[in-house]
Symmetry: C2
Subunit: 539 residues, 2 copies
């Protein structure tokens, strides 16, 4: 946020307040994309560059002087901020709706930001807020794409962002059990760097990796691009500490236990609504001695899907295993650097990575290659897989450039069992195209299998479209229609983006009345006054 003159007291989160990522990594649209937008979607005009902070209208903070003094007494004066920069930089996540709203003059934001430095301080902040009637939105990297950070008060008189930036330590490295204890506010790259110095990796690389935090990974039930081998974040977590308004919960005496329900799985995915996750114990691995990448071409998505399924159901899995459908392969979306370039391999492109000890990598890659060949795949060599890997964090930057140019772009995802992958993919694609057609716009829908399991897979959709009318209303209507279809076709409302504010309605349909009653009961038990992240998760 070096280019942002907004006044602030707390250090600002690394991401720009009104766009993805950091300015130096912003990406202009390639000629290929511009041509594609015009030819395929009739995109013209556009929103132009996002308005600067000078035009922002921010309502005055609802925190009183007494609030600020009380919070400062807990965490220290320098860790409480109510300046516009403190507030706007923690005003929400980074969905397309968020980015569109950041372009409006009038902004919503929390009334202030507070950065405690210990569990005791978190507990004291929660106690004060409960007493004072102030809502609390836990804030890590600010990368939610489901409205998980919306500054809602839930009927209380104000709302603060509770920034976990001071929870930045690697607390313990257990090289016997291969477990690392991290404070929750540590960003992905920093966690990997600290482990790397000691010869280990975590292996969790979601799209948000560069900015999101360990605690955020846990709270949002994150899944990284190497989940086929390293596991989802919920697989990695062996222990966690959560500070709730009713006390501190410490879980994880063993990786697995039969001591009743697994309460870790209640706080994983709790999205700040049940407690503030302050510490996480995660499985680590020795740095892989060998990394082998390989791209594969399949005749079509169905052929590739069968191949991925065969490998996912074997006991020898790659760390990365992805498959783009024909449309996504055609526009080279799998390989960010070549988006829109005319040299797509055609068919359906799969990307694989094998990591580990040389013996393991050799055995796993040979067995997978045999399965891929048996399914009809052709090995393309490592290049396309390498370029996917090199560019994998770049895609979100494109969205801002697309918005400038008048094209909307958003992603959504779901998961289902293998027997329903085709049905769900078709239903979601059709729902997207129909919803756009209804308001007279064209859309390009691309899909890839992003994560695989023995019993099923996730489907990750990217849609690019010509903006029309009120862009917030346009996308909100499409998103509602497609969410309804996802739930009706029997898939889950989210494989790894989470629930937040945006999916809450459909979560209720997914888990039913009893499921909702369970979530509400847990919420009432640990946060009876409803101060924690109101309006998120719990229907």
């Amino acid at each position: 946020m070096a280019d942002d003159p907004l006044p602030h007291l707390l250090p600002l989160p690394p991401m720009r307040w009104n766009a993805w990522g950091i300015p130096s990594d912003a990406r202009p649209l390639s000629k290929g994309i511009v041509d594609l937008l015009e030819a395929a979607l009739g995109v013209g005009g556009g929103l132009g560059p996002a308005p600067g902070p000078e035009s922002v209208e921010l309502p005055p903070t609802r925190l009183t002087g007494a609030d600020v003094a009380a919070l400062a007494a807990i965490v220290g004066q320098e860790h409480v901020g109510t300046e516009p920069g403190d507030r706007l930089s923690r005003a929400g996540g980074k969905s397309t709706l968020d980015l569109l709203r950041r372009r409006e003059a009038r902004q919503l934001a929390p009334d202030g930001a507070v950065a405690p430095g210990s569990d005791d301080e978190v507990a004291a902040v929660l106690a004060y807020c409960e007493e004072a009637g102030v809502a609390v939105v836990p804030f890590g990297g600010g990368t939610s794409v489901v409205g998980g950070l919306d500054p809602e008060t839930g009927g209380l008189r104000a709302v603060i962002a509770l920034d976990l930036r001071r929870f930045g330590a690697l607390v313990r490295l257990d090289e016997i059990s291969l477990l690392a204890t991290f404070q929750a506010g540590i960003p992905g790259p920093r966690a990997e760097a600290l482990l790397g110095e000691r010869g280990y990796i975590l292996g969790h690389y979601p799209q948000s990796f560069q900015f999101a935090t360990i605690g955020g990974f846990a709270a949002a039930r994150s899944s990284g691009q190497a989940s086929a081998g390293y596991g989802r974040f919920d697989d990695m977590v062996v222990g966690l500490t959560a500070v709730t308004p009713r006390g501190v919960l410490r879980l994880g005496r063993a990786q697995k236990s039969a001591a009743g329900p697994d309460l870790r799985q209640v706080f994983l995915g709790s999205e700040g609504a049940f407690g503030v996750i302050t510490e996480v114990v995660v499985r680590i691995r020795p740095k892989p001695e060998r990394v082998v990448r390989q791209a594969w071409r399949f005749e079509d998505f169905a052929q590739g899907e069968a191949a991925l399924r065969a490998v996912a159901q074997s006991s020898f899995r790659p760390t990365v295993l992805r498959l783009s459908d024909e449309v996504e392969t055609g526009v080279n979306l799998a390989t960010t650097e070549k988006i829109g370039a005319g040299d797509s391999p055609g068919g359906a492109l799969a990307v694989t990575t094998f990591e580990g000890a040389p013996d393991e990598v050799r055995a796993a890659s040979e067995l997978a290659a045999r399965a891929f060949e048996a399914a009809g795949g052709a090995a393309l060599g490592p290049e396309l897989a390498d370029s996917w890997e090199a560019g994998r964090y770049s895609a979100p930057y494109l969205r801002d450039a697309l918005l400038d140019a008048g094209a909307g772009c958003e992603t959504l995802e779901t998961a289902t069992t293998w027997d329903k992958v085709d049905e769900v993919k078709a239903a979601v694609t059709e729902a997207l195209l129909e919803a756009f057609a209804e308001n007279g716009t064209k859309a390009l829908v691309m899909c890839h299998i992003s994560h695989v399991y023995p019993a099923g897979a996730s489907l990750y959709f990217t849609v690019v479209y010509a903006m029309a009318g009120d862009p917030v209303e346009q996308w909100a209507a499409v998103k509602a229609a497609v969410s309804q279809v996802i739930v009706e076709v029997g898939a889950t409302i989210s494989h790894h983006h989470g629930v937040g504010a945006d999916h809450r309605r459909w979560l209720a349909e997914e888990i039913g009345e009893v499921g909702v009653a369970v979530l509400r009961a847990v919420k009432s038990a640990v946060d009876p006054k409803g101060i924690l992240n109101p309006g998120k998760l719990v229907p």
Copy 2:
């Protein structure tokens, strides 16, 4: 229960009401064991054979004629039983305390047994019981060893066993996703047989396999002896249906999801206290084309433990991976047929099984062998592993013969992280020996690693001792002392036996006040009148 003249209306569960298993598989003590008991523990005298049913005093049922008529109207007259056989055969589980109590004249038992045939009937039974103030203990195979089936009323006026025996179907086999949908009452061997006809296996073989049910595996968060490869039962479950007093919960649209907390993990391990699990969707695998067993000898437990850890932390795992300590190896407890025989290999014996496609088995077994050799292990060939496999369901039968002979025998287990395995093993062993010494008796404590994970392992203890004084009080005191040590040393109160009535007190210490509040809140939300399995799980 062929030799049991107790009158009954419902079909009886297969296990004897007052001993483990079926009479034809009962095992006399070998000469080796008898000698061992006398020499090592000074065992003499004994309880003699368990008293016959003619001497049983059973309080009259507290169900009224109106109760029986109402329940019969829901499930059919032939599915409600209040005869002594109906009640005693569902009076509890099969812990040593249970077996000791079955030898007393005065018996506690549920006031009747009811066997509904559908979710609707379960819901109607729960609704009636809630209205009428009758507690309900869901009953599958009756194999609990933690008091999970104790016929407690929880302050209500009566208690029934809700027998799931009529939930016996394989509902669906999804050969694409490799998922099988089972009704909850189907016993392990029947489930495997149905899958076997179609070329698949489940791979879940806990000690209770021969009698326990699919629903019981889910409710108790069971773990099988092949969990290193096939996973724990909670890993296998992708979907489940639970009928609660507040409605039916259906979960599992995808193997993994980020749609909030994983509510499956709240009902897995809920031990009948949150709802009646009536259907479970589980992962299955193709029948292994190849099975390779191999026993290994290590110089001592520490050497073997390091070897197991190396394999558990690699990506190529056996399906079975166990390690007996020096004492257990010395008495040949790992190979049931040879218990007490003088031909132990000495040192610490490990048993491994590799199952799967030939390529997978070859790669995994070679890599594991390399790790074992590097750690100092010596391959012994398959024989000792084969005999472990052949006799693995026999051990529980010995307990009854031991009781007859005056020796108590019980098992208990925990799990911890690898860095604490030695500390926990020593602390538990010492606690056991000390607790017996306090009441002047000797005990033989054996231990094995029964389940491995990348971050840790379970420790499974078998203790044999000379009974003295009131045998129920004797063991209850020891068990309380060792449970306290387990919790204080930071391990979990149970790796796979569960909580039931026996571990409830220590669960509270393990999960703390906030964890207890969460469990109580869920309980209140789905079972506000507290009819479901009172006195179990929820502290």
